[in-house]
């Protein structure tokens, strides 16, 4: 039981990280009609910039700096690329974001090399014990911060004019334009928010093992099953999907080491994703029309 609670805590923490990344995918998909396969590389950029700035700046300033860099990158990509492909086919859009991923990944390797970098994370490496369960500071910080970020997003989308305009654009693009909502600006806004979420996710992803390596972009792609399980157009789905994937990975790593070469937990989210796609192609919380995108 102790082991289960222990793993459960870690699973929820990892799941919240995936939820933040998954939310980025959902916000971009809703806001700009594009599933951005380069989102994982945004996470990588976020993590590396924090690591690069840390020796020179206090942690919170390094974080802000990384948000600025990553959001700028996302806005430039959206403006120069996606905005010009608005009327293109899904195939073209998918390939465009894949190409973007290839370029950004190569850039990361050019700037920071193929080796791993040490990463401090926003909090120390201490622990708290509740009964026999050991809670790491970083795990607590991850869960706490993620919940705050989720609440902030909820407020933004529910109660602010821009949040409403973004949802209106996602709901019906032409009607939004007819109401005088600047649809292009909403595209940019969705990419900006997603990139900022990527940075928040990246600092916690980089504090699980306390390193940043070039594969972090690929690790972030584990949020894709989370998105699909939850439903491409559902905020709630992204959070639930993220938690499901995080728990599967951590519980799987804890209990299934004797099966399938000890790596079964890495593919289980993808298997579950395909199962969900067969049973409910629009995800657990998605709306029925979405698979017609």
């Amino acid at each position: 039981m102790t082991l289960f609670l222990q793993l459960g805590f870690q699973g929820v923490a990892l799941g919240m990280v995936y939820a933040l990344i998954a939310l980025g995918f959902v916000i971009m998909t809703k806001g700009s009609n594009t599933f951005n396969f380069a989102h994982g590389e945004f996470v990588a950029v976020g993590a590396y910039v924090v690591v690069a700035l840390m020796p020179h700046l206090p942690y919170w300033m390094a974080f802000i700096g990384s948000v600025v860099v990553t959001v700028t990158l996302a806005l430039v990509a959206e403006r120069l690329l996606l905005r010009r492909l608005v009327s293109a086919s899904p195939t073209a859009l998918i390939l465009a974001t894949l190409a973007l991923a290839v370029i950004v990944h190569a850039l990361v390797l050019v700037v920071w090399g193929v080796g791993t970098k040490g990463s401090a994370g926003p909090v120390g490496s201490g622990t708290v014990e509740i009964g026999d369960v050991v809670l790491t500071y970083s795990g607590i910080a991850t869960i706490g911060t993620s919940i705050l970020v989720l609440l902030a997003l909820l407020v933004f989308f529910r109660w602010t004019s821009y949040g409403l305009a973004l949802r209106a654009t996602a709901s019906h693009q032409e009607a939004a334009a007819a109401q005088g909502i600047d649809v292009g600006r909403m595209f940019a806004l969705s990419w900006g928010i997603a990139a900022a979420l990527a940075v928040v996710a990246s600092i916690f992803l980089a504090s699980f093992p306390r390193i940043v390596s070039p594969t972090i972009g690929l690790v972030a792609l584990a949020a894709i099953p989370a998105v699909v399980i939850g439903g491409l157009d559902s905020f709630v789905g992204a959070v639930v999907g993220g938690l499901v994937v995080g728990l599967i990975q951590v519980l799987g790593a804890g209990y299934l080491t004797d099966y399938g070469g000890g790596r079964l937990h890495e593919v289980l989210p993808y298997v579950l994703m395909l199962v969900v796609l067969v049973l409910r192609p629009y995800g657990l919380f998605g709306s029925r029309g979405i698979e017609r995108v």
Partner: protein
């Protein structure tokens, strides 16, 4: 105050490389009046609406000549948002509400462009709802679950949220039961009486000519007739072409 609410001068539009959709359109909406635009499917009514509202590019259309003036200022190359800020609002053909937003949120999105403070927003909402009391009880419903008539009222209400001087209504009676068409008709008159100028595109010529002061008839991208609504209503040709068949056409698919 002498300049018209909306003036279209010598407007030509084409889609893509070949198809010319509108040729040399002249049209005017005087202040505080209802002007109606009639014509068969595919005549270019929706294209003209898009040229006025600035949504032409969404459908791949280009203005090749002519001007669109709103309250005396040239808005031909303005973005939709700029036109809305200048006082133009529209209810798109087929209603096109935000289906997964509530009625209240739909209305609020209509006021987005005005950057209202809380009190202003409440005032705009009250004014819009004063024309559309039916929406009062539906505020928390998802717009996608409303009936056709309710969605039409919501589309009009959402347009009113920006407190427009000129309102474009594209086929508001399309697919609605006769009784609801009556209600929509009364709502339009009610809005006009408050001083809003209205350009009404309709297939239901009988309804449109009964409330408009002035009418234009569009065929194959050209204005072929125009005049006082009363004259058009009494015209035998118009009667044969539009008044007799309007009921069956209204049920068909739109352009």
């Amino acid at each position: 105050m002498s300049e018209p609410a909306l003036a279209v001068t010598d407007l030509s539009v084409r889609y893509g490389a070949a198809a010319t959709a509108l040729t040399g359109i002249d049209l005017m909406v005087p202040r505080g009046e209802i002007v109606t635009l009639l014509g068969p499917n595919g005549a270019g009514k929706s294209t003209l609406m898009r040229a006025v509202s600035g949504l032409l590019h969404v459908h791949g259309g280009v203005i090749t000549s002519g001007r669109v003036e709103l309250l005396g200022s040239d808005v031909t190359s303005d973005r939709p948002a700029a036109r809305v800020r200048r006082g133009l609002a529209q209810a798109l053909e087929g209603r096109q509400v935000f289906p997964d937003l509530t009625v209240a949120e739909n209305l609020a999105a209509g006021g987005h462009v005005r950057r209202y403070r809380k009190a202003q927003a409440r005032e705009a909402l009250e004014r819009a709802l004063s024309h559309l009391p039916r929406l009062h009880d539906l505020m928390d419903r998802k717009a996608g679950y409303l009936s056709g008539g309710e969605q039409q009222m919501l589309a009009i209400g959402r347009a009113l949220m920006s407190q427009p001087t000129v309102l474009l209504l594209d086929e508001p009676s399309l697919g609605l039961a006769p009784k609801i068409v009556e209600t929509v008709r009364d709502i339009i008159l009610d809005i006009r009486d408050e001083g809003t100028s209205i350009l009404l595109v309709e297939q239901n010529a009988a309804m449109a000519l009964s409330i408009a002061q002035h009418g234009y008839v569009l065929e194959s991208g050209r204005i072929v007739r125009s005049g006082a609504a009363a004259d058009l209503r009494d015209d035998d040709e118009i009667a044969a072409l539009y008044l007799g068949v309007s009921a069956s056409e209204g049920a068909g698919s739109h352009a």
